[in-house]
Point group: C3
Chain length 137, copies 3
């Protein structure tokens, strides 16, 4: 079995921003030479998320607003304002998840017709690291 | 390391329906010959979910109602009505997750006493594909 | 490829309790001799969760309260009171997730600067089992 680790850095212009990063996964898969296996994608931050869903811009806006509604910014979190990011971004990272797996079959990312890999920046405007770990044969 | 991919298709009678698909995972594991490793289970759709929990019918009804409460159908989503599925099913897929891992140890699915693998159809009455990827030795 | 399975048991003093179990994962990795791969961590229970985030005590209290708010104890769940755990703990396990992956790169857990592995006991005061499955080379 081969393990191939790639790291990518995202530096968004907006504080919150959603990006389709599927092309970066394809590139990592091609560099790895792995044709059957999986990719483990991990945001290396507690205030970001990665998920697989439709990349339609209206939907991504819905996801953004839904996350803020489910875990809104508040003044009374115990994880107070002295910390870098508000507790709401941590809770949203928990909700949308900081990691996702993408299967590889016969040299292709095995995604459904509407599935794309989305990076959700919840507290950006600074460099954030993502690990793309490709494993398989 | 071996990688064995199986695909199953679910076509539910109801629009929303929850099914215990653990037997399909066992079958895929047996076909693969893999005795130590893991199964990556992925719904290849943006309006379905898979998760591990109790299969008690009352609980599955609670999960269904809870998902609808957490991300209800609404008229004002940006992802409008011209699309195939409502934004609520996408958000629910995000919440309950479209993928899950099941460890394999000594030729058995390593699940706790109350853990079963559940497929949650959120917009059914048509064929939906699921990937069962078995990896290991 | 090697697969190394470790099991740990947690028995909390409190009904609900959050613990940083990152040291147990490091230990399992060292015992396995695996230097490149991943750890699949699974709570073998339907009323517990594991996740990766900051271990700051105020934040863990926020997570605990947020889970209870998102899926509160209620009398009208279909999964009634005759069962061992309330439906709320099942829903919270679904929300915070019963499993997580930790990549291993060059003999180290690949976690971001603020990322720790947290076990969330949602119905404790009794022994609960966790599988630490290390896979790789």
């Amino acid at each position: 079995m081969k393990v191939h680790n790639d790291y990518m850095t995202v530096h968004t212009k907006q504080k919150r921003e959603f990006q389709n990063i599927t092309p970066s996964l394809k590139l990592a898969m091609e560099k790895s030479g792995i044709r059957d296996g999986l990719i483990l994608l991990c945001a290396l931050h507690v205030n970001a998320a990665v998920f697989v869903n439709d990349e339609e811009p209206g939907l991504l806006q819905d996801v953004d607003e839904w996350l803020e509604k489910m875990a809104p910014p508040r003044d009374d979190y115990k994880h107070g304002t002295k910390f870098e990011s508000g507790a709401n971004t941590h809770l949203q990272s928990l909700l949308a998840h900081h990691q996702v797996l993408v299967p590889i079959a016969a040299g292709k990312l095995e995604l459904g017709p509407w599935q794309q890999v989305i990076y959700a920046e919840l507290d950006g405007q600074r460099p954030k690291r993502i690990l793309i770990q490709v494993m398989g044969e």
